[in-house]
Amino acid sequence: MSAITPDEVAHLARLARLDLADDELAHLAGQLDVILTAVAEVADVAAADVPPTSHPLPLVNVTRPDEVGDCLTPSEALAMAPAAEDDRFRVPRILDEEA
């Protein structure tokens, strides 16, 4: 039984913002199918009355006093940016051309 089709793989790649070449997509499709088929056995074990565990520890809200602490300077934050301008990250256009 096939868990995933090549079209679905292409759709997933778009959702995950991964531009993949056609040969890469085809190779991945086969591997993802094998992996997903193997891991699908989790469906066999846990019954509906088993609560899910998202974390090994009971999580608690951790707060601190609302006081200014150490933080990065603009030049430290921008030091490794791919592009910067006027103390800001410079990014490619964010709207589609037709927008």
Binding site: L12, L28, L32, V45, A46, V50, P52, L57, P92, D96
Partner: protein, 504 residues
């Protein structure tokens, strides 16, 4: 002075404290060793020779001025390249972070610096810690010092190989499904994954946040405990950090080495983690180790953790799901790689191209699996079910620890496999983590300790010990007892007989 690299961290610390040797000499010896063997081993992605020597000289100056220093002051350490370091690149073994120098230190790194350890550099790893062989590094694989045609384990193969090749006496790893313990096993070294929350994750580049845990590695049990003591403890910058006293792991490592160190300790052999699929030499050395612990007074029973059978599939849903979310931050906007920003393409197009060319095959596989498992329509069948399996595993573990003090198994089903053998066979690669994953899912403490060489290939075998959350000291007690028994056979820790790379 090349013999300095053969000494344990505890021995070096003693010699430094006594003034028999300077930190600069110890550091220089390790840098020379790296220069001599790392072309073959490729344990390091970055070596900070100048920085290390400057730190060492500073430690020497302060020591001679009479300053009281910590127990590991002046001892060199290698740090996995997934922890942020100011002044040194942090790449996570990925092209997408090639050359990135972080603007802050991980808390763990800060603690190493505050304890005056000498940071030699950053060690190689599978990209974003995803893998069991270090072959997924974008910068080429690390080789196993026992046999350079074989893998050093992963994802922390750089750290384990640096130890086995005597390039560093101490190393830091991180462990999401076995990335400290499996490399330790296949290189004949010691590696411990502390209790989840025992060591701060602040500055540890996240792969799977509910599983990731940094921890210590070394060639001896005591050295590992000494390093554990330095890095463990509460950190207000990590909301999952445990606010409680660190178990006295150093005292446990010393006590465990005594002749009656494990007398009366109840040890449970996990039935599900052995038998079919396990290499004969791994099974034989594991059985020997259990017998040695019995000789030293431990009580051994076999018990069953039936849900462990489903740990591997649950892990390969939970970890990719969390990774697909965590790695969304690599978008080419604020740091790291950006490709094809030609003024015409949109941010979204640039993002897709950057991630498509910046991530390697395994990272892409896992992002895709995670994206699938979290999709509406599939969430309940995959991620939701995996979370329920996680509950069952925690219940198995809790029940087992009502009857025994520690659980044991082989660390990994085989010895080091040849480079290339599993690189395009994800399921075969994933099986290397069969025994180590349950501890991550349950959040408990676990470690791997050398237990001899397999007869069929002469390669190291690891003995895996699991202890309840915040009972990390028990790992060291068992590990030290095993090390003492093994030393009678091999004339020292197992690493004492690793083949010499320079001669070979």
């Amino acid at each position: 002075m090349s013999d300095l690299t053969r000494r344990s961290a505890a021995e070096l610390a003693g010699a430094l404290a006594d003034g028999d040797v300077s930190a600069a000499e110890v550091t220089q010896a390790h840098l020379e060793r790296i220069a001599a063997v790392d072309d073959t081993v490729h344990a390091f992605l970055h070596v900070d020779g100048d920085g290390a020597l400057a730190t060492a000289r500073d430690v020497d100056a302060r020591r001679s001025a009479g300053e009281r220093l910590g127990p590991l002051a002046g001892v060199p350490v290698a740090v996995k390249d997934v922890l942020t370091t100011t002044g040194m690149p942090t790449t996570c073994g990925s092209r997408i972070l090639d050359g990135w120098v972080p603007p802050y230190d991980a808390t763990l790194v800060t603690r190493l610096k505050q304890a005056d350890l000498v940071l030699l550099g950053k060690t190689n790893m599978d990209e974003f810690a995803m893998g069991s062989s270090t072959e997924n590094s974008a910068f080429g694989p690390t080789r196993n010092p026992w046999d350079p045609t074989r893998i050093p384990g992963g994802s922390g193969g750089g750290s384990s190989a640096a130890l086995a090749a005597f390039e560093a006496p101490l190393a830091i790893g991180t462990d999401t499904g076995g990335s400290i313990r499996q490399p330790a096993a296949v290189t004949g070294t010691v590696g411990v994954k502390p209790t989840y929350g025992g060591v701060s994750r602040y500055g540890l580049v996240a792969f799977s946040s509910s599983l990731d845990q940094a921890g210590p590695a070394a060639r001896t049990v005591l050295d590992t405990a000494l390093l554990h003591q330095v890095i463990a403890g509460h950190d207000p910058r990590d909301s999952t950090s445990i606010d409680a006293a660190v178990p006295d792991v150093v005292a446990a490592a010393r006590a465990g080495a005594e002749p009656d160190g494990v007398r009366g300790l109840r040890i449970g052999v996990v039935r599900e983690l052995g038998g079919e699929g396990y290499q004969p030499g791994v099974q034989a050395r594991f059985a020997d180790a259990v017998a040695q612990l019995v000789e030293r007074g431990a009580d051994v029973v076999e018990l069953s953790c039936p849900s462990f059978t489903y740990a591997l599939p649950a892990y390969y849903l939970i970890a990719p799901s969390e990774c697909s979310s965590n790695l969304a931050r690599f978008d080419g906007m604020r740091y790291g790689l950006r490709v094809d920003d030609d003024g015409d393409l949109s941010a979204e197009q640039v993002m897709g191209r950057t991630r498509g060319s910046g991530f390697g095959a395994e990272v892409k596989r896992r992002i895709m699996i995670g994206t699938y498992a979290l999709s509406s329509g599939y969430y309940d069948a995959y991620y939701g079910q995996a979370q329920k399996v996680r509950t069952l595993i925690s219940r198995d573990v809790a029940l087992a620890f009502e009857h025994v003090d520690v659980l044991v198994s082989p660390t990994t089903p085989t010895t080091a496999f040849p480079l290339g053998e599993r690189v395009d066979d994800p399921l075969a690669m994933y099986k290397a983590d069969l025994c180590t994953i349950p501890a991550n899912l349950a959040g408990i403490a676990a470690g791997s300790f050398p237990c001899g060489l397999a007869d069929e290939d002469g390669l190291p075998v690891g003995f895996h010990v699991m202890a309840p959350a915040m009972a990390d000291d028990r790992l060291y007690r068992v590990g030290a007892a095993l090390e003492a028994a093994q030393s009678e056979k091999y004339g020292g820790p197992l690493s004492a007989i690793v083949p010499d790379l320079v001669r070979a």
